[in-house]
Symmetry: D2
Subunit: 401 residues, 4 copies
């Protein structure tokens, strides 16, 4: 069953699915259980309460849906909007593209604001659209917080500011798939109406849970939302929340216990420390890229991402060959360039339960691969740049002081 | 994290999620992997090929969707039908009711054929509807093969016969959630267009995979099906099948390896032996019920189910109390009576990776609980009846001869 | 790697190794760790403290030795005695025989007190030997608390009483392999000098830890004990206890975390409840044996064992065939008759993390096997007898009330 | 239960216990089994046959003893020698010291040949002793193949040559704890009489198996060996080998399945490739040490070890502080300096299931720690030196070509 065994540990640096900590693997190592016994609701109650903390919301209502990020998107849209509704959506890379594709196939009237790949959402255009939309035809703003294809983080606070400035009632829907629990994210403070992530990203679980929080306004919107939905219908969940049994259909027992363990690890480290760790890993990666003389796909410092770095390669190199070779020779899994940047970028995911030395091992591996494919990087240069930064920024592990 | 620890093993006899064999738990005990590496497609290819065998189809196209049975239902309907389409659907218990509810919310024109709970689908009515439907307004027949709430197995061969008799082109959509890989199921022979199950049932995995097979006719129907779908859209899968990368979005690596192990176990035992084992477990359970002087909710032998038995309790007993007490005193998980039969029946699930002595332990437990709640069962009577049957029917374990 | 796969769960009823609870399997599911980091001593400290509780000692010094029960025996003897020392030892079955064999090979002068297999240690003879031993030539009394081969539990309190009566200073060494953490065991109260068990018995772990406690008197004896020992030398442990690093050589990290989990489960249930549960399982088994019309190998009620029952079969049956057939047809693992009782008895182990319905499943299986081999047992009779007892004696699971 | 949680993976670079591959962790993730069923002997048979391959012996007899390396030592000595026997033993570091301590406590007449720590066994002295020993008073040569405390590999072929030159019949006993399955080791070719290792070293399992092979001459020696032994007595094993049940006492089922998986991985990679990989990791580590301007504790190239490198630190640095800080700040586990070299060296273990990027991550971490403690290493320098070597020497992963 190991089609492709290599000695030693796989170095998993795709931007999802990410490394699962042993504590979570252990928690999931179990038989099924009757989800209608008192045990599962008792567990679920703690999960729903605690998952809100990683969204930084107290007023939101959480949903743990047995699906992927794509399903979570669909859930966010269909529960709050009606076919034909005008929404503003930002196209800045492959994942925002896919979400927009979904929005269009769900029959919304999508007003696409496109940026060059490598740039963030054009919020000036948003401001002008909002300013002009006196009669509030725009029903929702859809934005990917962190575009995983290009390593671009958008400024959500500014979106809120724009909406507030014009007292515009549009719903604010945010894909936080590669940001929540890794980047600074403040659902309540930023007035986000639906935020969502997937279990296999910063939470460091297997794929299988779409995790959403809905603001009171989003819940109110469900009453008039005419999009057809059944599996993804929040009302079915809300009905079972009231009954105290929580689940309209069978959840994965293993993922529930896994989520419990994952949240426990986040709280043990401290959410703000988790975010600071990601900032450290992101900065160190960018310093390595610079030391290698390569360009970050992200065109400006204001958008750099602390969870994934997309790295431009010279035109004489096929970035896909970097990914292939990393896997074939060094047991290193890197992210491909997707769509418009296929062949042009490769990506390092640095999110989830990950530490400094793991990243340095990855960077050392990237240096080897770069030379393998003909780019004359100085061995050790990226590692040195990242290390110098780590030396000054890495705290002692708090449980070991 | 163990809210409700009890010594010894939990005796899990709800009709899903069911016991996971150690081999499958082991196979899933792993870190995430890059699903875009060559390893995951190589694995997926074997899964898609092998999963068809448990549906007994060679012409069908399989889909492994990260969802539950409810999602699999939605996938079957939305990919093949358009809003307003007339479908015939049979209401015989809670799960057929839920599917009908979904069909109605998806805006199909559902022609509900209701039977008393405990009886099978009324196929005479189907025959008459089909006979009358000269202009083929009926686009699909939707039927639950095994109604898990009442322990009723419908006769799919007869459905096919009726359609063939009138050369009616309606699609034949089958919920095989509690039947596939446990009961006799023949997708190709019975001309089923979409059949589906969930990973947590007879395949004995965690929840998380909706597993479907679509006939060529069903695939053809996707082209004209106007139901809105994105997450559940088969075409997205088919596109990636052609690319050889297989996954339109992130699968659960763990469930893929788990499914590989689960299928290996089924093939090692032999699918027909698996089905024979379920027949043995079902028959033994019914003999115990008879010995206890209780009635099977299933009203006639023609519909008895070999995966779940719903047992009627005398009116002076609340069946929910049986379930509660089984769990509280004997670490035994039984199924509740649902909806119309709430309080009136309790259920024993006897499907998945389960053997004779596990069932006898359960039956002994049920006897204890029955007495606990005031029903004067003779201790050992059900066990003796089931054992007598096992004595004559249980083969030697083939690997141990 | 599954040479002998059978569907469903293996029913493990040998008297060791026993079923491991999921909580313990989970705790052991981990990578190695540096045992010289601060984490392992911190863990070890809690284990040494807590393991004393299952011996009911406060004054004893515990040792966790990477070995089996056989090694634990050797450790007990060589640390406290010198070659040529006279010891009194009781031969009542295969395990006491093996210990005596070891004692002789270690060059002690073993005064063997033999009983018929099925009877307990002859403590009258002990009393007379002690009475006569005015000059205290007897250096130690070695006794197996529970003889696993015959299901005989010796009376340790009486041994103590005899020694006290004559103020005899002999060391009191006890094999508690199949008793500690299952039967009533009181190291301090009974003045036991060395008591020992193995991890794979009532503690429900894998094999690999010999667990001992030594009284202050036993520790004092190490100073004059001339038996050659290195690997098993307690002084090497004591040296590292003082250093606070605890381990003279590499421990199994997995077993340490497993032991932590196992102890946690014992304390959560309550040690006295654990012992009461074993009493319940033992009594129920004996009632089943009686109902089958078979004889317990244990010849008198005073010696019956609550952890293992050895059952005599009629002379026309080979008990080994029962064990073989149980495994081949019902996935049931029973214990063979050993040595003098080979072919004449088979054994049911009912110790460790086990509950009532598991045992009833086993008893139902034994009934089937008995009929398979030609013994005309009435199906359900043993189950009924055991169930009737359970009905009156089984408490609600405390965490579920 | 995680006293000292840190985010991300622990970087385990002590020279044992080492990282366990996921495949082995999975194989061990299981309940106990009856070791007297036909399954366990069938498994054991394959293990005994296959374990010989990693010793490169066809004539040897293997023993899998539930113990540690210390126990394996004792087993090797007591089965082949008698108290008072003269043996030549080499003191070159902490582990050879401990073995000599054991030899003395077992009452052998140990002729200790001491070298400065950091140098190999003085084989010239051996040659002269052998030359003078005309009457063959020397019964055994005991040598540690790879001294784990100093990173020194002795030349076993030369030992054999010396014995052959003088046709000396002394037994040749080898501690291969940190060499077998990692370094070039040829039991038959080098005429080794007893070779031994522990499961937690290059085989990458948990602690718990002492693995030995004995030559026919060693087995012959057991007949006259008068050392007292029971638990470690090979004859008890041989008796059960003949019976085909293999185990004189209870083995760890988990370790047996784990060993099966570990051997499968070794054979899949190819033993010679495993050895070449260790050579690569060792060389790269030494190049890094050189680049850092530090000295290898090993004083000459002829003795360098490919499984562990002991690194001297300047006198103004306490090497224990390096180990402490690595763990506290970077989740990196390094080996302490022991005994004579305490405070003066720290150690990097690079053995077992480990790959190039894992080592580079470790080296990057060591650079950080060195600077933390005040040694002015140039960041990236060691990584660069090791990487340059890897670039030229690392093959593609054979299963991925």
């Amino acid at each position: 069953m190991d089609y492709v065994y290599g000695p030693g540990r796989n170095h998993l640096f795709v931007p999802g699915p990410v490394n699962i900590p042993e504590q979570v693997i252990r928690a999931m190592n179990r038989n099924n259980e009757d989800y209608r016994s008192p045990a599962v609701p008792a567990l679920t109650k703690t999960l729903l309460e605690d998952v809100k903390k990683i969204f930084k919301t107290t007023s939101g209502t959480p949903f743990l849906i047995p699906t992927t990020g794509t399903g979570a998107w669909e859930s966010a849209l269909t529960n709050t909007l009606s076919p034909g509704d005008r929404i503003v959506s930002f196209l800045i890379g492959q994942f925002s593209l896919l979400w927009i594709d979904q929005q269009q196939r769900l029959n919304f009237n999508v007003d696409v604001v496109e940026s060059e790949w490598g740039r963030g959402a054009d919020l000036d255009i948003l401001a002008s659209k909002i300013a002009q939309d006196k009669d509030h035809a725009i029903k929702a703003i859809c934005i990917v917080h962190n575009e995983t294809a290009t390593g671009v983080t958008n400024n959500l606070a500014t979106v809120r500011k724009i909406l507030d400035q014009y007292q515009h009632p549009a719903l604010f829907l945010v894909d936080g798939v590669s940001s929540i629990c890794a980047l600074d994210f403040r659902m309540d403070e930023w007035g986000i109406d639906v935020a969502l992530t997937g279990s296999q990203k910063a939470l460091s679980l297997p794929t299988g849970l779409g995790i959403l929080c809905a603001s009171p306004k989003a819940l109110e919107a469900t009453k008039s939302a005419k999009s057809v939905r059944v599996f993804f219908d929040w009302n079915d969940y809300l009905k079972f929340y009231k009954l105290g049994t929580y689940w309209p259909y069978t959840p994965s027992i293993q993922l529930l216990y896994g989520l419990r363990a994952a949240l426990d690890l986040v709280f043990e480290e401290g959410l703000d420390n988790v975010i600071a760790r990601h900032a450290r890993l992101g900065k160190a990666t960018r310093l390595a890229v610079e030391a290698w003389g390569l360009k970050n796909c992200t065109q400006s410092e204001e958008w750099v991402s602390d969870t994934v770095t997309a790295i431009m390669v010279p035109s004489y190199i096929d970035s896909a060959e970097i990914v292939r070779r990393a896997w074939k020779r060094y047991n290193l899994s890197l992210g491909l360039g997707l769509n418009k940047v296929a062949g042009k970028v490769f990506r390092i995911g640095h999110l989830g339960n990950l530490n400094e030395l793991q990243l340095l091992g990855c960077l050392a591996g990237v240096e080897l691969v770069l030379r393998d494919v003909g780019y004359p990087v100085k061995l050790g240069s990226g590692v040195a740049a990242a290390s110098a930064y780590f030396q000054n920024s890495t705290p002692l592990i708090s449980s070991r002081i």
